[in-house]
Amino acid sequence: MNDRKKNSTQNFDATVMWLYAILVGIGILCIFMVEYKPGIDVFQSFISGKTNYGKQLIFSGICVVLATFILLADSKLFTAFANLMYAFGIVLMLATFVIGKSISGSKSWIPLGGGFNLQPAELCKVFTALAIAKFLSRQETDFTKLKSQIIAAAIALMPAVLSIAQHELGLALVYLTFFIVMYREGLPPGILVISFSFAVLVVATLLIEPNVLAILLTIIAAITVYTLRRQIKRKKNLLPIIISIWMICVGIQRFVVPYIFNNTFECYQSTRIYSMVGKEYDCSQNKKAQKSSKPPKKTDDYNVRQSIIAIGSGGFWGKGFLKGTQTRGKYVPEQHTDFIFTSLGEAFGFVGCTVFLGLYLFLLFRIVRIAERQRSTFSRVYAYCVASILFFHITVNVCMTIGLFPIIGIPLPLISYGGSSLLTFTILLFILLRLDADRQMVLR
């Protein structure tokens, strides 16, 4: 008993802990760069907690306490309560519709009093990851079966649907990353290929004039039929498959994509996505914009422009700590939260960015390695969930600031200012460390 305990303490993965500490430290420094004003008592403002970096320091303190609790807890706790916590998370998200508070246009916050607000969708990531891990690790689950795959997808997509209902498209997209996990657990790669093709098709729809694209698709189909003419003779059902794929593609590009852009998305979202590919979106087609009867606000890509200027002006070596003019002049809106990467890019340039992204990649690889050394499926699936969530956040956030992705409110893990976000990622990582410490156990 004593032996095991000693063993398990030693088994906490030091690398991840170090990376965690370094990244949180970088985060606080970045927020400090954003908020810094010359001539203040730096120490005093860190301690007083009146500035955002001061607050972030307090949050990280809370996180340390929480992490300690998680590490001291029993691994079985997580398997046992996984489903319950998932249910709790869903209830919380539903509760936002009743007692929710609207912050910057999305009604996804629950006021906790004392100026603190909780975003259940953030915490729900953790719960969903646990629930999926729990489901896939059940003895009776056979993931090769379609039924199991659909249930797993349903678990992942339920919070996503709720998030969309809360007008938090960005958070909803996070749940799509669980498909990476499912792929690892045996989801046929065809699905990934199909969804990738689908993405290509959607982008092509945005880029290319509808009629031209329809003709292009027809030509591709015709060429396919021509090259496969021998196989088609042998296999009778190949031709209907090709024709139905062709029909689905044309249907998507002619009807589905325009419908989604005009009826599902908000005007500003459509505009952002269109502006990514360098096109202008006509808001007068948007049903939601018509309903609100307000004249469509002229959206401007000010955010992205300033963000790219900040990063681009950093150059190879960067302008130096606290010397970024874009950062000092507060030209980038929301720089301490979603656009925190810009302060880093401006101050430390390409070298800094590469080192920073290297840290992240190292962390991701480390987590994948941890995942693969687990004996229990629960731990492995959970580890992949953590890696996927982190990967998604990092990619989308960084791509957003360098103009590769439309702006959606996705924070940079462990770096962006915000208690909910920091807490969520802390919980995610430390549950993983707790599980990893017991990797010799088979948890169900």
């Binding site: 690892r184 200027i309 681009g312 002006s313 150059g315 874009q326 890019g345 693969e372």
Partner: protein
């Protein structure tokens, strides 16, 4: 334990790496291969602030500053920091009402946002400044900001020092490459304008960091790329400010001008244009209002009459005629010409002569005998060697031009007039090709078409004093740190008269000394100083109506070793000996002796100062402006327009009748209206002078 699908771990890792490579690729594109973002970031954040250097100071000949800089304060507000102040107390402090306060703040926010500092009240008066400064701590968001303005410590010489004014688009177009920007100030008149390049100095650029709302955050790169401002260079002028002040005092309530020159250097000692104005009147916060007042003043205080108005020189020109006669040899010092009361040579009996008798040159100058100089003039022009009056006049003009007449002298002030030496071509047009000297006999006594500025007249006096040479009159003697733009080179060149011998000058000087000893100027000679002078009384007409004569006087002193040459005119004042002569004499004494001695002379200063010689027409225009002002101030019982119309149509003619002047022809009010709202009485005068001069002293 499931090792199922383990190979997929590899593909997931590959996906991670691929996505990160895409990100790194975009970073390489943005951070390494695109240089435009650096420029964009600089444009965003760096604010180039122009640092204005102090303008140069102008000193007088005794190194007293007559134009310098002083600090005044603007009250500056940052609206969103000034929220919640005690508005009532603040308004009471500034003597404004709260509605006004709200309106100003509203306007400021509209024009310049609520986060940037804007001027709330420009250029506080000294009392207001101390009041505000004491209470400023009560009103956060308000600060006092220094501003350098020009001051004239002696309240003198406004017309020659000039003033600075915000540059307009025309100025910016003309000075494209000199770095002026909208909102800059540049010398607009006077020396401020002539020496703008030197006075303005070199502007500095400070690079500052500003934030997204254009608030300044600090210096960029610790000021590494800043350039320092270089202060404007100081100018040392030849002006004697005490003399200038005395001149201005003596010219109070008179229209005219004074120019005094140091003959040895060409340096201008004083240059008075009257009526003048206190230059400090148009510097402070009320600048625009005051400048407007001056612009509309019918006495035209803003023009510099010493260089900008041409007059017939009158009898002072006789010295010129005498010298040319002597130089051409048509007379000598002992030639006598008799006068019977009029010049009969042309059969018209004009010009007339007041003192009949027989005169040598000396007496002729002393008594200003018209007949004598008419005769000399005709003899000169009608010499057989010239063949015709045409070439005779050309020869005459050549002499006159060598004294600096008929063209701009090149004084270092803007808008100098040329004067006029009428040419034979001009007369051919009027009188036909066979014109006679009798046609232009008025020129002999300085009436007619000959016109000079007062500075030209002073220069002639200076040339006579020097016996045949002059330096171009100028105000600035030297520039601190050297004459970088070679602006003063032309003032170092000696100009010589052509073909006039020393003996000629001696003879004329004898005559001018005689003027003071027993001639027309004997009433204001200075004990112990040999002054050479010449009076002039010039007939003049306004729209064909004869006006009171202009009073002229030109002089230099002392005769041996001359130190001052001076020319004075009082418009519509009467005899030269009555006003201009005494003024010149007082100034000469002041300059040569540093003070005016004796009770009698001091009383003369006071009585001269009190004399009001503003022409009645100007006086009337002034009164009319006053009455319009009063009508506007009066509570409005009836429409103001009616008042002003009645003033224009009824009051003016009746006033004219009261003054005993001939009634103005019906069309004249119309022609006045066309020109400007205020009547400009002497604007037409100078060109309407008649040739048929009457005998004058």
């Amino acid at each position: 334990m499931s090792v199922y699908n383990q190979s997929r771990s590899r593909s997931i890792q590959i996906i991670f790496v691929l996505v990160f490579i895409v990100i790194i690729g975009q970073l390489i594109h943005l951070q390494i291969f695109s240089s435009k973002y650096d420029v964009l970031a600089r444009n965003n954040a760096i604010f180039r602030k122009v640092i204005y250097p102090d303008r140069g100071i102008i000193f007088d000949r005794k190194k007293r500053a007559i134009l310098e800089n002083s600090i005044m304060f603007d009250l500056v507000v940052t609206p969103n920091e000034a929220k919640g102040i005690d508005t009532a107390a603040f308004c009471a402090l500034l003597n404004i009402d709260t509605a006004n306060y709200k309106k100003r703040i509203h306007d400021i926010i509209f024009k310049n946002t609520a986060v940037k500092p804007s001027v709330f009240e420009p250029l506080l008066s000294p009392e207001m400044y101390s009041k505000v400064n004491e209470n400023l701590y009560k009103f956060p968001g308000f600060v006092l900001q220094e501003r350098s303005i020009r001051t004239y410590p002696y309240n003198a010489a406004g017309n020659i020092l000039g003033y600075i004014q915000e540059v307009d688009t025309g100025f910016l177009r003309r000075h494209k490459d000199e770095g002026y920007e909208m909102g800059d100030y540049a010398g607009y008149t006077g020396l401020e304008r002539s020496y703008e390049k030197i006075l303005m100095g070199q502007r500095g650029i400070k690079q500052l960091i500003r934030d997204n709302k254009s608030r300044i955050q600090g210096s960029f790169a610790n000021g590494e790329y800043d350039t320092a401002a270089v202060a404007g260079k100081n100018l040392y002028s030849s002006i004697d400010v005490e003399l200038q002040q005395l001149g201005e005092k003596l010219m109070t309530n008179k229209v005219g001008s004074i120019v005094a020159i140091n003959p040895k250097t060409g340096g201008v000692l004083c240059m008075v244009s009257a009526p003048n104005y206190n230059p400090n009147y148009i510097t402070g916060s009320q600048r625009k209002k005051h400048l407007g007042e001056l612009l509309l003043d019918p006495r035209l205080p803003l023009i510099n009459r010493t260089i900008g108005t041409k007059y017939s020189p009158g009898s002072t020109f006789k010295t010129m005629v005498g010298m040319i006669g002597l130089a051409e040899g048509v007379i000598d010092v002992n030639s006598t010409i008799g006068c019977t009361g009029a010049y009969l040579g042309c059969g018209t009996g004009k010009p007339k002569c007041l003192d009949p008798g027989t005169f040598k040159l000396t007496e002729a100058i002393a008594h200003s005998c018209n007949t004598y100089f008419a005769t000399v003039f005709r003899r000169t022009l009608d010499q057989p060697k010239f063949g015709s009056a045409d070439s005779g006049l050309t020869a005459f003009n050549r002499y006159a031009a060598s004294f600096g007449l008929g063209d701009k002298l090149g004084v270092d002030l803007p808008s100098e007039k040329r004067g006029n030496l009428p040419t034979s071509k001009y007369y051919r047009k009027i009188f036909g090709s066979k014109w006679q000297t009798c046609n232009i006999i008025s020129n002999a006594i300085g009436q007619g078409e000959v016109e000079t500025t007062i500075v030209q007249l002073a220069n002639v006096m200076s040339t006579i004093a020097n016996k045949g040479w002059y330096y171009t009159p100028h105000l600035i003697d030297s520039i601190e740190g050297g004459d970088e733009y070679a602006l003063l080179e032309k003032f170092k060149e000696k100009h010589y008269t052509k073909g006039v011998a020393d003996t000629v000058f001696n003879a004329v000087q004898d005559g001018m000394q005689a003027v003071m000893d027993f001639g027309t100027g004997s009433g204001f000679k200075i004990d112990g100083i040999t002054v050479c002078g010449k009076t002039g009384t010039v007939e003049n007409y306004d729209k064909g109506i004869k006006q009171k004569n202009h009073s002229f006087f030109g002089a230099f002193a002392p005769r041996e070793n001359p130190k001052i040459a001076i020319a004075v005119i009082c418009e519509n004042a009467g005899f030269g000996a009555a006003y201009s002569g005494p003024i010149a004499s007082l100034l000469i004494e002041k300059y040569l002796r540093d003070s005016i001695a004796g009770k009698e002379r001091k009383d003369k200063v006071e009585s001269m100062t009190k004399t009001n010689l503003i022409p009645p027409k100007m006086q009337m225009a002034l009164e009319r402006i006053d009455s319009i002002k009063r009508a506007k101030l009066k509570p409005v019982d009836e429409p103001i327009e009616e008042d002003s119309i009645s003033v224009e149509e009824e009051v003016v003619p009746s006033n004219l009748l009261q003054e005993g002047l001939p009634n103005i022809p019906a069309k004249s009010p119309e022609s006045n209206k066309k020109k400007s709202p205020a009547i400009l009485p002497n604007a037409d005068k100078k060109n309407s002078l008649k040739k048929n001069a009457k005998p004058k002293r």
